[in-house]
């Protein structure tokens, strides 16, 4: 197995990230020793460790393994989506074709056929799902089922697939951190955005921002999230990406808003279905869609931003 050339900056960032994780875990254990009830926090941290190690292993070796890993992630997310929506048994075949879209899309990513990636799920699956429905011969809830299944594909397969598409950007545009630097940047930024929104919301949240969808979200958390994420973006952008300070600050602010929107969108879906978590896959966090809801919005946005600023050819 051939190892990636991990850029020194990315390696250092990874080490700092793990030191941070270790400190958080130690803090958790000290608090527990002090008699505080932090079981939930420790469960979350343990799950987070497993996620972090899985991601590190998946991305450390080769592009092929990384793509397979993201493919698995998309599959788990899509399966979660199909399991939470009240889908009828008669639509099994349509769901089957939706699952088939995952390997096809990743084939396009793997062969760097980017235009086809852009088109496949948004256009061809959009056309194919009604065809599968017609083949089934059922008219009851026809348009609704088509829309729901396509919605799931767009968010769980297409948008999350953008994480894999970073591999199609030529590494030469980012001499500082390489492709892994960009992926590390977007993953960490999305997580830290969730965290800083939670932190600011918890400490000084007063005014609700979307009370009907997510009553725990506040304006203070939202703005604090933008503030925190922008600062982290400037630091990480400087070391890991080719962006200038202003570009990093802009990216940080935009991604903070996008992450927030991804979060509340999934909250809206869950509220509609009357569930709290999308599954029990990750103890303390819920499901893949709970954990990566922000990434659904941030990954495509950051990809297009980088492509627009540094490698416009990939968009042509």
């Amino acid at each position: 197995m051939e190892l990636h050339n991990i850029a020194p900056n990315t390696l250092i960032a990874l080490i700092i990230f793990y030191i941070f994780l270790i400190l958080m875990s130690i803090a958790g254990f000290i608090l527990r020793k002090a008699g505080k009830n932090v079981d939930n926090f420790i469960t979350r941290m343990n799950s987070f460790w497993i996620i972090a190690l899985l991601f590190t292993c998946a991305f450390a070796f080769s592009r092929k393994i990384a793509l397979l890993f993201i493919m698995l992630l998309c599959y788990l997310a899509l399966k979660e989506f199909f399991s939470i929506i009240p889908i009828r048994k008669s639509l099994r075949d349509v769901v089957f074709w939706a699952y088939i879209a995952i390997p096809v899309q990743f084939y396009f990513i793997y062969t760097n056929w980017i235009v086809m990636f852009y088109l496949f799920v948004p256009l061809y699956m959009f056309l194919l799902i009604p065809v599968a429905m017609v083949k089934k011969g059922e008219t009851q809830g026809f348009i609704k089922s088509c829309a729901v299944i396509h919605w799931g594909l767009m968010s769980a397969v297409y948008s999350l697939g953008y994480v894999a598409l970073f591999y199609s950007i030529p590494a030469s545009i980012n001499p500082k951190g390489g492709i892994l630097g960009l992926i590390f940047y977007i993953l960490i930024l999305t997580i830290s955005n969730d965290f800083s929104q939670f932190f600011f919301g918890k400490t000084m949240g007063r005014h609700k921002i979307v009370p009907t969808i997510s009553p725990n979200k506040t304006w203070e958390g939202f703005l604090g999230g933008i503030f925190g994420t922008t600062i982290i973006s400037i630091i990480m952008g400087y070391f890991l990406t080719p962006m200038s300070i202003y570009q990093s600050a802009f990216a940080g602010a935009v991604l903070a808003v996008a992450g927030f929107l991804g979060d509340v969108t999934m909250s809206g879906v869950k509220r509609d279905l009357g569930i709290k978590d999308t599954s029990q896959l990750i103890p303390g966090h819920g499901g893949i869609l709970d954990r990566f809801d922000s990434l659904i919005f941030t990954a495509p946005l950051f990809f297009h931003y980088i492509a627009y600023v540094f490698d416009i050819n990939i968009l042509r």
Partner: protein, 219 residues
């Protein structure tokens, strides 16, 4: 010695084939896992829509317990050839129960099931008698109640499983991944009612678990 190898083989089969298949390909959400038995003896009573039901229930146990779990299976379906009988008995630990009662087997019909409970092991029974369709709960057959009658100290755990009827319904081989939901009810013991009443009582509990699930889906 032969038994030990068989048990080890069954554990490995579940650890490396069945459990990854159940947990990664499909996924299981369990409600009230604390009600689920960790050790035998116990009788698990569940609705039945798919062959996957058995594998899901068995996967909920720790690997150490796997050799001591025995799903009761129809004699005429799973044990009608020597090969099938060998595979299902050795690999999954199934025990045969005849679906037809006649003069010859009326005394010995539950012998194997009783042996399991005598050994403090766990029995899984699908008292609907066959796989249903469209998630409609059939009448419960009284066999499990007759077994429970003999072992009034053995807990009976009612379970409702949702999902396998979408994953692999009766009459198809195309399996489609969904996450299954398992609702575990509180354990109960045989009381002094008749087997028929007791079967109806347990069915009512499973039916309530199903309704709780349906209410959630319609929200």
């Amino acid at each position: 010695m032969v038994k030990k190898i068989e048990y080890l083989f069954r554990k490995l089969f579940f650890a490396f084939i069945i459990k990854p298949f159940i947990y990664i390909d499909m996924g299981v959400n369990v409600e009230n896992y604390e009600n689920f038995p960790k050790k035998g003896p116990a009788i698990i009573v569940s609705n039945h829509n798919s062959h996957i039901d058995t594998l899901i229930l068995m996967s909920l146990f720790h690997n150490y317990e796997i050799p001591y779990i025995h799903p009761a299976a129809a004699l005429d379906y799973f044990f009608n050839t020597k090969f099938k009988s060998f595979v299902f008995r050795k690999l999954i630990g199934m025990v045969p129960i005849s679906r037809k009662v006649n003069k010859d087997n009326i005394d010995s019909i539950f012998d194997e099931a009783n042996k399991i409970l005598d050994n403090n092991e766990i029995l899984i029974i699908f008292p609907e008698g066959t796989r249903g369709s469209n998630c409609e709960l059939q009448q419960f057959k009284t066999g499990f109640a007759r077994i429970a009658q003999k072992y009034p100290s053995v807990p009976i755990i009612p379970v409702y499983i949702d999902g396998p009827d979408k994953i692999l319904p009766k009459g198809t081989l195309l399996w489609i991944p969904f996450i299954a939901n398992v609702y575990v009810g509180e354990a109960l013991y045989y009381d002094n009612t008749s087997a028929k009443d007791f079967a109806a009582k347990v069915r009512n509990i499973v039916w309530n678990l199903q309704q709780a699930h349906k209410n959630r889906e319609e929200l």
